[in-house]
Amino acid sequence: MHAEAVIRAETAPPRPGRRGLGQETRIVELRGQAPLLPRIVAVPGTGAEVVLVGGAAGPLGGDELAVRIEVGAGARLTVRTAAAAVVLPGTGEPARQRVEITVADGGELDWLPEPAVVAAGARFETALHVTLGRATRLLLRETLLLGRAAEPCGDAVSRWDIAAEGRPLLRQVSAYGPGAKPGWRGPAGTAGGTVVATELRFPDIPGTTPRLPSAPGRAVCELAGGGLLTTVMATDALTADRLLRGQPAVSRAVPAPSPSAPPVPLVGSPS
């Protein structure tokens, strides 16, 4: 299946009765095809929000999916997905997804997709290309679960290419799963983790957001170009989520070498 979704947001003068709130963001282009169906969600404030609703199962091997998000000067947009995606083997080819993001000067974007679960035997290749103008704000998140519960890992290759004002900010290719290079799951790789979540905040303005310290299972890195990259590695999605949000872990992020590691409780402590 080949599908493309396009979401374009621009600023517009406030509507009557909403003056005083400043420039409003309007969605000026919105199209897609199954399984990428974009829907506008009403949100308070002057920003806009779009949710991509999965209109079909998958992605399946052989699928080629593309999402293009354009945020105009000064516009504020959040794009989410409605549910986790489960990548299934399909034709045996990789399922490919490409997300192309442009944020013009002064624009703000949150790209917050739900996790992608890569089933055993499936291959997922995802590429995220971001071009930022001047004085932009960006929040990106990606969560990859290698394999469904109690099954072997699927293969995932994730590429992030992010440039701000014409300079590369982050270039990173991560490969996980049985098809990845040796040592991918070792102490230099995911440190035993089969769930990897990555978050980028740009710019990183000290004091505006509570900054988590690095900890076992969580690397918090200040990029040379001025963003904050957080990568968490865990053996289950609940722990990964807690590590990313800075809530106390209910289990060790990585199994201890000793067999006495506490089991993961079925019910977490209240958040």
Binding site: P168, V173, S174, K181, A188, G189, P216, A219, T231
Partner: protein, 229 residues
């Protein structure tokens, strides 16, 4: 490939490499590396992650330096920015630059007529290594071999000190690693020659090493450490 490889690959080269464990000290402190199997896994991940990136940048620098004299107008600024974008951890960048400065001091003494300052105020280690390799009559692949082996040799000798491993047993691990280093160097040299001819910097390897980023960040928070990184 001649004596230059042995010169720059020699652990006795006074370029400060012995002060760095490449994240191993923290992995040992957290119990992630505790025997030869976990050390092998650490080294493989390091080699195919950051090692592949360092090898490609060393190969690029060797090509940029040119065969006859160090080219002061080479793409040194681009190499610096692109390697920064592939090194998310600030302590890892600092360690790369510290080792770059130390190696440049040695290279400047060995080849004083070359314009070493063109590489930048505080160049990354892989870039200096590649430029020095070209001065030592190595080609891009030679530079890549140096950088690839460098990413595993340092942590391996640190493992001998930190975990009191039998040095012969660790050498056996490194011998197994040699074929992998060659493979990484082949791919790095090929990528470098493509990129240096067409200027598409995004095609240079950018493999992540999330575990190493974590080691680097956690190591930098420790008050008492044996190694600088």
């Amino acid at each position: 490939m001649g004596a230059g490889l042995l010169l720059l690959g020699d652990s006795r080269l006074p370029a400060g490499g012995h002060a760095h464990s490449g994240g191993l000290e923290n992995a040992v402190a957290r119990g992630e590396v505790h025997d030869l199997d976990t050390l092998t896994d650490f080294l493989l991940g390091r080699l195919y992650g950051t090692g592949a990136v360092q090898a490609a940048f060393a190969a690029c620098a060797a090509l940029a330096a040119g065969p006859y004299a160090l080219d002061a107008d080479g793409p040194w600024g681009e190499l610096d920015t692109e390697l920064d974008a592939r090194t998310p951890s600030a302590p890892a960048r600092a360690s790369s630059r510290a080792q770059g400065r130390s190696l440049r001091r040695v290279a400047r003494a060995a080849w004083p007529e070359e314009p070493w300052t063109a590489l930048g105020v505080s160049p990354h280690h892989a870039v200096v290594l590649g430029a020095a390799a070209s001065r030592a009559r190595l080609d891009a692949r030679g530079a890549a071999v140096l950088a690839a082996t460098n990413t595993v040799n340092g942590p391996a000798s640190a493992a001998v000190k930190l975990l009191s491993f039998d040095p012969i047993a660790v050498t056996v691990v490194l011998a197994e690693m040699a074929g992998h280093c060659d493979q990484v160097a082949d791919e790095a040299a090929e990528a470098a020659s493509t990129v240096m001819s067409d200027g598409d910097w995004d095609r240079l390897p950018a493999w992540s090493s999330p575990g190493l980023d974590m080691c680097a960040e956690l190591h930098a928070r420790e008050e008492v450490v044996h190694f600088a990184s």
